[in-house]
Amino acid sequence: MIRVQSEDFDVGAEMAAMSGNNIGALASFVGLVRGGEGGGAIGAMTLEHYPGMTEKKLAEIEAEARSRWPLEDCLVIHRYGRLEPGERIVLVVTASSHRQAALEACAFLIDWLKTSAPFWKYEEREAGGEWVAARAEDGRAAKKWAAKK
């Protein structure tokens, strides 16, 4: 299942709600807005997305993960809107009878979300806000999964 929402999510509740007859392994990943490194003050950010297309792309990657690994259940939640440092941005939970499938599917989804999820980031700065340009170097981790296909 995938959800694109502005509200926060409850990691424990989402993990407890995973359903399947033979779940032995639950892997999860939460991505958060990082705080300042080296004490520099970091402001909030705003994530914009393309309603409709974002859900479609997330559903496609979820289907891809389910086709590659024997998952009992799979959940991706991605937030949009204004987020402050320390806030949760994204959640992936994968459930399988085997730990390897759960861990690998979770890492696969996270790599895709980190590099390819259709969101645009607006950073609040002291001198006014700014749209953040794409990071070219992020494509590598996602490409490694293509090679394994």
């Binding site: 914009e48 297309m53 941005i89 645009w120 340009a133 794409a134 992020d138």
Partner: protein, 85 residues
């Protein structure tokens, strides 16, 4: 035809969404880009460097040569930011 603009394209063009009637001689995304650039300085600036613009037709990624029909939903946006966390 519905046009959507995201991120700084929306900022430069001054709107996030508009409805247009597709001119008869505009048959591809590339031709639509050229036609839009003639609509005003905001469009021209937003679409000046297409290496930092991506396109979607009916919510699927599309190239400049992708064909268009009236009733399509066409979106313009930068490459996804990535590295959000």
């Amino acid at each position: 035809m519905k046009l959507l603009y995201f991120s700084w394209l929306k900022q430069k063009i001054g709107t996030g969404e508009e409805d247009i009637t597709l001119p008869g001689d505009v048959a591809t995304v590339g031709a639509l880009v050229d036609w839009l650039k003639g609509r005003g300085p905001g469009y021209a600036e937003a679409l000046a460097d297409l290496s930092v613009v991506r396109f979607a037709v009916n919510q699927d990624f599309a190239g400049l040569d992708h064909g268009l029909a009236d009733g399509d939903e066409v979106a313009f946006f930068p490459p996804v930011t990535g590295g959000l966390w």
